[in-house]
């Protein structure tokens, strides 16, 4: 009997090849998308789960005033936590920074983590060699990741005790971390003891400062219910100590679970770039939508095909089959088809994964465990039942007397169901089309809007304050170099320093501004236009910014401000020139007056998702004075790689142990939109697939409907209808459904997109054309799909269909 079930299922599949193939391909696409997105979502949610104590580890973030939370904390925080709060079992610090590694003849720029000795008690990476208990004991310890080990020593084993010179000091390899399969938020950099970090500080006293935030602090707390109370206690403790040492009025902490930090893209200064929880949710929803679309296809085509099987039901019932037996038969057929589809979908996913990994810059593997196989099996059964139950119950409920007379075809509820399903499908498709159009346009807009600087032909080199003056003299002699400068921060990177500007006539009015200490030629090198006034110049000795800590009033230096600040102060660019403003008075510094000499256009730092803050630029007399960090070089357009090599030679000639690590400004700019680009492409891909599934379903249904109307078509033709008229008639039956789908879906899309766009500071106006395009597009898709079938049916010779009485 069971064997017969399978045989009948197979024969039915085979008999109606077109319908079966359409059902199958729709299911394959739907299930494959679902699996793929679920893999991605699982991957995004699995960050840090590899660490044994992950559940008990928390990151301490600071919130100062109304700013976004930040992961950077004072170096002394971890010590304070363990000694003053008994609920905190342990704490550890992780700082990051760039180092120069000298090995054999080369000097390489590397990133490094600087960690406490108990690092591995928190983050229990597996070591290929070395001992986690002792690896960080010596001040010259060095732990490498597998890839870095291979880079320097061409192997990942047998290198314990090998030496590398880091920032001019010899270090000895004490451990090699094995590459892990599950993702985590620790950058794969060198790992050094935190003492090495202290030696980079300008002063050892900074270790004890409450307002110098230079490390990420992790704490182990095994009592989850204590978190709320602990947050309050630690916040008060921190606030008491940090108050007065900085300009911030409130200082709070957030205790954030380690398992949450990857998808937290609000908190700044994370060690690795975060993912986006919103996007993960959106993709989950899309994956379900596509699965629903595929199920709908199946249901739709099955009930349609059921018309042809009505007779089968009648005969079986007349022969004594029970309703349950019939339900079983049809469900088994549905489940078998979905099982087959799942198998093909898994293969598809396997084939698509490398491309997907490249697109999303992740490393997802398809592994088969007992659990995942069971899940897939469950998925197949579930989809089979969801998709197959309506046809099964519908068919088994048919009255044999009716079906044998051929009366099924006029079932009103069946027609209505199929029509609603088409509306549902096209609704989802129209929704996705509008969404991706608007997302694409907004992203294009943000990327192409004027950034307030010229990103072409500029390279940014990390560090170099000590050699900059000599470097500049040699560099500008190069025929392809237009100018070079140094600055504390550069466009595409956040402004790290803030200050308070007060109008001289109203010093109680505090305006928070970003501050960027720069060297000469900054504006020329970055192509930032002066709107009024003059650039900093060596001709004016008073341009250089110097705070006099003994007599704040005696501080000197001129200011260049950006347009936002001029506007905030109520001045046009011309009016601002020669005005005096007062700086300081935030924390331990006194008030001091400075004169404005120029207004420059607004430039985006970080990226255009952030508002441009009011900014001041001050001149650093010597690169070391105001901790300038980035060297920038502007080349002539179309310069060759050789010019950069020349620059590297000059650089290394001045300091052989400082790596010349550079990035094109255009690359930094693109990188700041990488996540958005990835997610936009992913959205596009899945929108396309959703449309494909919808079109496949419509194609099947149109084929069926047309087949049912073959005779009608012939009659109309005999009565004088032209082929064009007939095609129009066949196509038109779906257009009102498609229009209805748009009417339902577009308002939903409108409200969602309105909120999404409101999240942007620089945004496009709601593009109503997207809705029109989506409606047009879905109509065109429907027309083209149905037309393929209609043309064939309408141009057939009527005699063939009329004679089949």
């Amino acid at each position: 009997m069971v064997k017969l079930l399978f045989i009948v299922a197979w024969r039915n599949f085979y008999r109606d090849k077109l319908t079966s193939l359409i059902q199958l391909s729709g299911l394959v696409i739907g299930i494959a998308c679902f699996i793929l997105i679920q893999l991605y979502v699982d991957h995004q949610k699995s960050f840090n789960s590899q660490f044994t104590a992950a559940k008990d580890i928390y990151r301490i973030n600071l919130i100062r005033d109304e700013n976004k939370p930040q992961a950077a904390t004072p170096l002394r925080l971890s010590k304070e936590l363990t000694s003053n709060f008994q609920q905190i079992n342990d704490a550890t610090r992780v700082s990051d920074g760039g180092v120069s590694v000298k090995h054999l003849q080369g000097v390489y720029a590397e990133k490094s983590l600087f960690v406490d000795r108990n690092y591995f008690e928190f983050f229990d990476f597996e070591l290929i060699e070395g001992d986690v208990l002792t690896a960080l004991n010596a001040p010259d310890s060095l732990i490498l990741h597998e890839d870095t080990a291979v880079k320097y020593f061409s192997r990942s084993q047998g290198i314990i005790g090998k030496r590398l010179t880091i920032n001019g000091k010899e270090h000895q390899v004490t451990g090699v971390i094995k590459k892990s399969n599950t993702p985590h938020t620790m950058p794969l950099t060198l790992v050094l003891p935190i003492e090495s970090y202290f030696s980079l500080l300008p002063s050892q006293a900074w270790q004890e400062r409450w307002n110098y935030n230079a490390t990420v602090t992790f704490a182990k707390i095994d009592n989850e219910s204590a978190i709320d109370n602990l947050t309050r206690l630690v916040s008060d403790y921190y606030d008491q100590r940090a108050k007065g040492s900085s300009s911030f009025k409130t200082n709070r902490v957030v205790i954030e679970p380690l398992l949450d930090i990857y998808l937290d893209n609000v908190t700044t200064y994370s060690l690795t770039p975060p993912g986006s929880a919103v996007m993960v949710t959106i993709f989950s929803v899309i994956s379900f939508m596509i699965l629903v679309l595929a199920c709908v296809n199946f249901t739709n085509l099955s009930t349609a095909a059921a018309m042809r099987r009505g007779k089968d039901v009648g005969v079986r019932k007349a022969l004594g089959a029970s309703k349950n037996q019939l339900i079983t038969q049809y469900l088994v057929e549905a489940i078998l088809l979905t099982a087959l589809a799942t198998l093909i979908a898994v293969l598809t996913v396997k084939l698509a994964l490398p491309a997907f990994n490249t697109l999303m810059n992740v490393e997802i593997n398809l592994t088969f465990s007992l659990l995942s196989s069971a899940q897939l099996f469950g998925l197949a059964i579930f989809v089979g039942i969801v998709a197959g139950s309506y046809p099964a119950f519908y068919l088994s409920n048919l009255s044999p007397a009716h079906v044998l007379k051929g009366l099924v075809a006029t079932s009103k509820s069946g027609v209505l169901l199929r029509q609603s399903l088409i509306v549902l499908q096209f609704g989802i498709a129209a929704f996705l089309v509008v969404t991706s159009l608007i997302v694409n346009w907004q992203m294009q807009y943000v990327k192409n809007m004027p950034q307030g600087f010229d990103r072409e032909n500029v390279i940014i080199v990390s560090r170099g304050a000590d050699i900059f003056n000599a470097f500049k003299i040699q560099a500008v002699r190069h025929p392809d170099v237009i100018s070079t400068t140094m600055s504390h921060t550069v466009p595409t990177k956040p402004t790290r320093t803030s200050n308070i500007v007060r109008p001289s006539n109203d010093i109680t009015n505090e305006i928070w501004v970003g501050s960027n200490p720069v060297s000469f030629d900054f504006f020329q090198t970055f192509g930032i236009k002066l709107l009024s006034g003059r650039d900093f110049s060596k001709a004016y000795t008073n341009d250089v910014y110097e705070e006099n800590k003994n007599d704040w009033q005696a501080s000197t230096g001129k200011l260049i401000i950006n347009q936002s600040l001029a506007t905030t102060l109520g001045w046009s660019p011309e009016e601002a020139i020669d005005q005096m403003v007062t700086l300081g008075g935030g924390g331990d510094d006194g008030l001091h007056n400075h004169q404005i000499i120029a207004v420059v256009e607004d430039s985006h730092y970080i990226n255009a998702k952030n508002a441009i803050p009011p900014m001041i630029y001050v001149l650093s007399g010597q690169p070391q004075d105001l901790s300038l960090r980035w060297t920038a070089i502007r080349f002539k357009a179309g310069t060759s790689l050789q010019s950069i090599k020349d620059m590297e030679q000059v650089w290394l000639g001045l300091n052989g142990s400082l790596a010349f690590k550079y990035d094109w400004l255009t690359d930094l700019f693109s990188a700041s939109y990488r996540n958005e680009n990835q997610q936009t492409s992913l959205l596009n891909v899945f929108t396309f697939l959703a449309i494909a599934v919808t079109a496949i379903g419509l194609f099947g249904l149109a084929a069926f409907n047309t087949q049912r109307r073959v005779k009608e078509i012939a009659v109309r033709k005999v009565l004088g209808a032209s082929t064009a008229q007939l095609c129009f008639m066949l196509v038109n039956q779906f257009s009102s459904l498609v229009v209805l789908a748009n009417v339902i879906a577009l308002p939903v899309a409108y409200f969602l997109m309105r909120d999404w766009l409101n999240g942007f500071i620089y945004r496009i106006d709601m593009p109503y054309s997207a809705y029109l395009l989506s409606a047009l597009f879905s109509l065109i898709i429907a027309y083209v799909t149905v037309m393929v079938i209609a043309v064939k049916a309408a141009s057939a010779k009527p005699v063939d269909s009329l004679s089949c009485e």
């Binding site: 109309r716 033709k717 005999v718 009565l719 004088g720 004679s803």
Partner: protein
């Protein structure tokens, strides 16, 4: 009106070639009511399809009111069909989703007749076939005889020069059959040319001429004498 000059039509199946019309010549004049009789497979339906230009011929000449149909393109044939021919089928072939009057209106719509004119013509023809009281009904609600009257109304609403009827009484009981045949006869007497394929010899007497086919050839071709009608009818009915 219609002239066949040595026409042939055969169908090639998997193994055998079936000759449906074998080198046939025939002239049909305006105003005739021609009944075609013959056993199944003798070529009746093929002949009717060829006449209605639903099917093409393999060879021979076919002229229709001055047009050389065998030289015409598919499109021209469709145009001729639209302008001059009305069809009546055994299974009525009404469109289930349309009401009686919508079914009748359909060919006028395809002829691009203006709306007012369509209404007038439909009204007239509804009266003519005596089905006006059912004009808003769907075909499924009508009896077989009523459905066939609607189909006849639809065939004549464009005032075609030629009406082709393929076993118009095949699905009807004798009472309804007589009504339908009476209607056709009246149409003929009002001037329509009718060609009818039938299985029922007793219906021959409603026409003016009878053609008997066998194996794609004309076996017998004679006029029906109205005075022999009664005798024939009795003979056939009794025989």
């Amino acid at each position: 009106m219609i002239t066949f000059n040595n026409i042939s039509r055969s169908f090639i199946g998997d193994e055998v070639e079936t000759v449906a019309i074998d080198n046939m010549s025939l002239t049909i004049n305006k105003g005739e009511f021609l009944s075609i009789l013959g056993p199944s497979g003798c070529g009746k339906s093929t002949l009717l399809n060829v006449l209605g230009m639903l099917d093409s011929i393999d060879q021979g000449g076919f002229s229709f009111i001055g047009h050389q149909v065998d030289q015409c393109s598919e499109k021209q044939r469709a145009e001729l069909r639209k302008q001059h021919i009305g069809f009546i089928f055994q299974s009525f072939n009404l469109i289930d989703e349309l009401t009686v009057e919508q079914n009748i209106e359909l060919p006028l719509y395809y002829h691009k007749v203006p709306k007012e004119e369509r209404k007038r013509l439909v009204d007239k023809v509804l009266q003519r076939v005596d089905i006006a009281h059912r004009r808003k009904h769907l075909p499924a609600k009508l009896s077989g005889g009523q459905q066939q009257r609607v189909a006849i109304a639809r065939a004549i609403v464009t005032q075609p020069d030629l009406i082709l009827a393929d076993e118009p009484t095949g699905n009807l009981d004798s009472k309804n059959s007589e009504q339908v045949m009476g209607l056709l006869q009246e149409l003929n007497q009002e001037g329509s040319t009718i060609v009818m394929v039938t299985h029922a010899p007793e219906h021959v007497c409603y026409g003016t001429r009878v053609l008997e086919l066998l194996d794609g050839k004309v076996l017998k071709d004679e006029s029906v004498q109205q005075e022999t009608l009664a005798a024939d009818l009795t003979e056939v009915a009794c025989g």
